[in-house]
């Protein structure tokens, strides 16, 4: 089967290159940028209407169009920007950087051409949702911080993992099945402050794409989705800044040219100060006043156009959460570093070399009392990838490359100091190399059919020095084996074919279908649905097989000119193998034999997603509805019967809307409704050893009540004058407007006076939270 797929793909690639001979052709290539600040535009369209030839800029803003010699009008378009038509006389290969002007205001002046509007119809991407910085900032905010993860959680097929959480669930997969990349580096924990905020500072973010069903062959390592977050490059024209002052946090971004039009930088930082207010609420010397609680993060990036063919980007993210509470201390944070070198070998061959570093760590310590202890855990990645995009002719875009990452897992080190003695416990550390090669081709056949077919082959090798626990088939520990330094003691590998098809029925409608196979070699040990910062990532090993999954999607896309709506309906079916769950009452905390607590099985998820989206006019936003089911069958859990997974949400409805009343005043609202989380509840009681013991239902047989919430915000801008450099706005937001007490969990307490009486409680988190933020830019 595998060989068969490979033969077909290689055959298609060969075929696509051999049938294009004939008259002399030349290539126009270059970058599409924003005229104002020089930022490259990702996914801008280039179209030549006579030959019906088109192209799209890649993630670095680069495009390449090959046409027979002649005179052409080339149209450059990008959502939110004015269309630009450039006449070219093609007699040789031609380099052309194009700058587009942002539409002066989001009010009706925006002229959206049909082609722009129909990008969703013709592009060969399905199950892809994209947001730019502007769209994210229009969504009502929580505590004054606009947050892209909160926006992602309202996309079709995506739901919030739990109240306040920065984790999200995509099409019934677990939160750790989402690959989150910030400038190509993996972000292992996207949460700040227990998840009330995400690690992404939207001031520094240029573009966000979520791939749910058609993950490009260039990426892998997770089953459910790819969230590709790109940082801004920095203003190449002028020095500029932006920022905001909110009730609990402030942020500031500075950007500007280092060498005009050649090199630029951006630095963006945030810091919360909610803890400064704690003493106001409580008496002095109370617990709360001794508590400190904050996070900060810093994004920085520089880029430099060394020559017309070479560019260098260095980007960095550093963030930390700190929580101190009466001598006890917990902190965690991510650090990612990316170095990239774009090189254009020739107008038809673009390359990018990336060096990556990612670190996620946490520590817990107790500095007072006896015994004192420090517990640290971290996961570190060193990666390299080399990607090529080739544009052999106007019908094909070929992408290929290699990628490799060295993972270092240090699940936990525990140092206890008791008077004079120090006791150190260290969980077994491990190293692994994850590497892959891929090739894919985007091929246009005639004017109506586009295919994308690709193949990725990935490997995962566990590397010594390591001490491995061995278990029998009943998960009982047998013994340990030791492997020497740099010894490869286990390797998994697998084919990951990717296929998608777009058939354009007419200008306004298309049908798309996709198939994906994905593999996942690292996962999160988390057995609470909301996740917790102490959860650790652990790799595939001789005891843990890699997860793999198939996904089939099909969808119908239809646009309506009036009033400018994009609509789509998609169906998906996912089958996932070697899924990991935990035995009943598993101990995942500092457990050196954690692999013995794991149980394995299969899962499936299926559903339908509907989207109506409006990108232009005074009213913008979207409505998404998802109907889905997600099930698991794990050996040793729920008596081996199929059960609803923790990630099942039957109904999921999101309404996101912004209305611009005037140029200065806009109002945004969003409303979400999600079916309750499946839970296991006590249905009976009995006594054993004079102790009251609950009898539980089958796993996840019950559900919490549905989650719903309305958020509102009003933004008032200052008067727009041409000579004014400093602009500002006030944002008033209300989170959870009708103060819905969404149950986070049910929990039961034994009455202190009568132990036979059990009291039931609903726990809910965030009540109505108003906030006010002052934002500015210059």
């Amino acid at each position: 089967m595998k060989r068969y797929i490979l033969t077909i793909i290689l055959g298609l690639v060969f075929f696509s290159f051999t049938n294009v001979q004939g008259q002399t052709k030349y290539t126009i290539s270059g970058y599409v940028k924003d005229k104002e600040n020089g930022e490259t535009l990702l996914g801008a369209n280039i179209y030549q209407s006579d030959t019906k030839t088109g192209a799209t800029t890649n993630i670095y803003g680069f495009y390449s169009v090959t046409l027979p010699a002649g005179k052409y009008n080339l149209s450059f378009t990008y959502i939110g920007y004015q269309e630009r038509i450039i006449e070219v006389d093609l007699k040789e290969n031609y380099s052309l950087d194009v700058e587009l002007v942002a539409s002066a205001s989001i009010i009706s002046e925006v002229t959206v051409s049909d082609k722009k509007l129909n990008d969703n119809i013709t592009s060969n991407d399905m199950s892809l949702f994209r947001l730019d910085n502007k769209a994210i900032s229009q969504i009502p905010v929580f505590m004054g911080e606009s947050d892209l993860v909160k926006a992602v959680q309202m996309m079709p097929g995506v739901s919030i993992a739990s109240e306040g959480s920065s984790s999200f669930i995509v099409r019934g997969g677990s939160a750790d099945q989402n690959l989150i990349l910030l400038d190509e580096a993996t972000v292992y924990n996207p949460s700040h402050l227990m998840g009330f905020f995400s690690v992404f500072n939207s001031d520094a973010i240029k573009d966000v794409k979520l791939y749910k069903g058609d993950i490009p062959a260039a990426n892998g390592g997770r089953l459910s989705s790819l969230l590709d977050v790109r940082m801004k490059d920095g203003n190449k024209k002028n020095f500029a800044g932006s920022g905001g002052i909110g009730l609990i946090s402030s942020r500031l971004t500075l950007e500007g040219p280092v060498v005009k039009d050649k090199a630029s930088f951006i630095v963006s930082g945030r810091r919360t100060y909610a803890d400064l207010f704690f003493p106001l609420f409580e008496k002095r010397d109370s617990l709360l006043s001794q508590t400190s609680l904050y996070f900060y993060d810093l994004n920085a990036k520089i880029n430099w156009e060394i020559s017309a063919k070479d560019r260098i980007f260095v980007s960095s993210y550093f963030g930390k959460d700190v929580f101190k509470f009466t001598g006890q201390d917990i902190n965690w944070g991510n650090n990612t570093e990316t170095f990239r070198w774009n090189h254009i070998y020739n107008p038809r061959l673009f390359s990018n070399l990336t060096l990556l570093y990612s670190d996620y760590s946490y520590s817990l310590s107790s500095t007072t009392g006896t015994p004192k202890f420090v517990w640290t855990s971290n996961l570190r990645d060193y990666g390299l990838r080399y990607d090529f995009t080739a544009y052999p002719n106007s019908k094909n875009t070929l992408r290929y490359g290699i990628t490799g990452t060295l993972h270092q897992f240090k699940p936990g080190e525990f140092v206890v100091t008791m008077e004079d003695t120090t006791f150190i416990a260290r969980l077994k550390e491990s190293k692994a190399l994850e590497y892959a090669g891929y090739i894919s081709n985007d091929q246009k056949i005639g004017g109506t059919l586009t295919l994308n077919y690709g193949l990725r082959y990935s490997f995962f090798s566990s590397i010594g020095e390591a001490t491995l626990n061995r278990y029998d088939s009943a998960h009982n520990f047998i013994d340990t084996v030791h492997y020497g330094k740099n010894e490869i003691y286990n390797t998994y590998s697998g084919f990951e074919p990717r296929f998608s098809l777009t058939w354009v029925i007419n200008e306004k409608s298309s049908v798309k279908a996709a198939y994906n196979r994905t593999m996942q070699y690292v996962q999160l040990a988390s057995n609470s649905s909301g996740g917790n910062p102490l959860d650790i990532w652990f790799p595939a090993s001789p005891n843990v097989k890699p997860q793999s999954g198939h996904q089939w999607n099909a969808g119908y896309f239809r646009n309506f000119d009036k009033p400018g709506l994009e609509t789509s309906a998609e169906l998906f079916y996912k089958r996932m193998y070697d899924q990991v769950d935990f035995k009943d009452y598993a101990n995942l905390l500092l457990n050196d034999r954690m692999e013995g607590e794991l149980r394995f099985g299969d899962a499936q998820a299926y559903g339908a997603e509907f989207l109506v989206r409006k990108n232009s006019g005074n009213l913008t936003g979207w409505i998404s509805y998802t109907l889905s089911r997600s099930e698991r069958k794990i050996d040793g859990i729920n008596n081996n019967k199929t059960y609803l997974s923790n990630f099942d949400r039957t109904h999921n409805l999101s309404v996101v809307a912004t209305y611009n009343f005037t140029k200065r005043l806009s109002v945004s609202a969003n409303w979400v409704y999600v079916s309750g989380v499946p839970v296991t509840l006590p249905v009976g009681r009995y006594y054993f050893g004079n102790t009251l013991i609950p009898v539980y239902s089958d796993r996840n047989e019950a559900r919490l009540p549905a989650y719903h919430r309305l958020d509102l915000s009003v933004t008032i801008k200052n008067k727009n004058r041409k000579d004014r450099k400093f602009n500002s706005e006030w944002n008033f937001s209300v989170y959870n407007v009708y103060n819905r007490k969404n149950p986070y969990s049910y929990y039961f307490e034994t009455d202190r006076t009568n132990p036979q009486v059990i009291k039931s409680y609903k726990m809910s988190l965030l009540p109505i939270v108003p906030s006010i933020t002052y934002n500015f830019n210059f």
């Binding site: 929580f323 050893g689 102790t691 009898v695 969990s745 929990y747 409680y761």
Partner: protein, 265 residues
């Protein structure tokens, strides 16, 4: 370990700052479910053995254990079968005395409410403590153990105390250990229990060797019902897996028991 657990409450506390707790009426979600519960032990030190049969009830219904009466109970050791008679509602005792014997497999058979239940258990050997010592400090009695744990691996033990003649038979107050890390270990005045009490208390210690299944059952209960669950990061609960067939709850365990009086230091 307790310290680690306490630090885990930090994120919980953090969430509590924002959270809201509200009592609600849970009744409507409870099923009218009634299952047979068995709590039965065969030991090698007593000739009279007790089988407690109870019924489960609604979770929220504030009732004590409900007796399961008029059941037919027998215990067999492979060759002989002993019948049990109901001496109090839900409490059954053997009519002919017998001692449990090491190495034998015991099977309990119960007929109750037109359903048959059974369970089997092997009576394993238990090591004898050489001595148990006690000393008193700050209203706590500290118990120290001397004795040789046998070299056979996979031994599981429960510990109970009898203070001034009263057996502490509440499960959550029992102690327990296994020989995973201490197989063949010689206990030399090692602390293994602390009891709130008085210096004048007379204390006896009962150590029993139990099966791995019982140990898992018992420790899961001890670790997961003794304190209130944290409402945010608690794991998915599940039924504690006993050894009674046909949907019965509870456990039937044959065990070797050693008893020692504490010597005051």
């Amino acid at each position: 370990m307790k310290n680690i657990k306490s630090i885990l409450f930090i994120p919980v506390i953090l969430i509590m700052i924002y959270s809201c707790k509200e009592e609600f009426d849970y009744n409507q979600m409870t099923e009218g479910l009634e299952r047979l519960v068995v709590e039965a032990y065969i030991t090698d030190v007593d000739s009279v053995h007790t089988v407690k049969l109870m019924r489960s009830s609604d979770y929220i219904d504030p009732q004590p254990a409900l007796a399961a009466t008029n059941a037919v109970v027998t215990v067999s050791n492979g060759t002989d079968t002993y019948s049990f008679a109901e001496v109090m509602p839900g409490v059954y005792r053997n009519t002919l005395p017998f001692y449990g014997e090491t190495g034998k497999t015991y099977t309990i058979s119960i007929n109750y409410g037109e359903k048959d239940y059974s369970a089997t258990s092997v009576l394993g050997e238990c090591f004898d403590m050489e001595n148990v010592y006690a000393y008193y400090e700050d209203s706590t009695n500290y118990l120290l153990l001397c004795g040789q744990e046998p070299v056979e691996p996979d031994q599981y033990y429960t510990l109970k105390t009898i203070v001034n003649g009263v057996e502490n038979d509440t499960l959550t107050n029992w102690g327990y250990f296994d020989d995973g890390l201490i197989n063949g270990h010689y206990f030399d005045f090692e602390l293994f229990a602390m009891l709130q009490g008085k210096e004048t208390d007379t204390i006896e210690v009962i150590i029993s060797s139990v099966s791995k299944e019982f140990y898992t059952y018992f420790t899961s209960i001890a670790q997961n019902t003794g304190y209130e669950p944290d409402p945010f990061f608690s794991t998915t609960p599940a039924n504690f897996k006993g050894n009674i067939s046909n949907g019965g709850l509870g456990f039937f365990q044959a065990m070797s028991v050693k008893r020692k009086s504490c010597i005051r230091l």
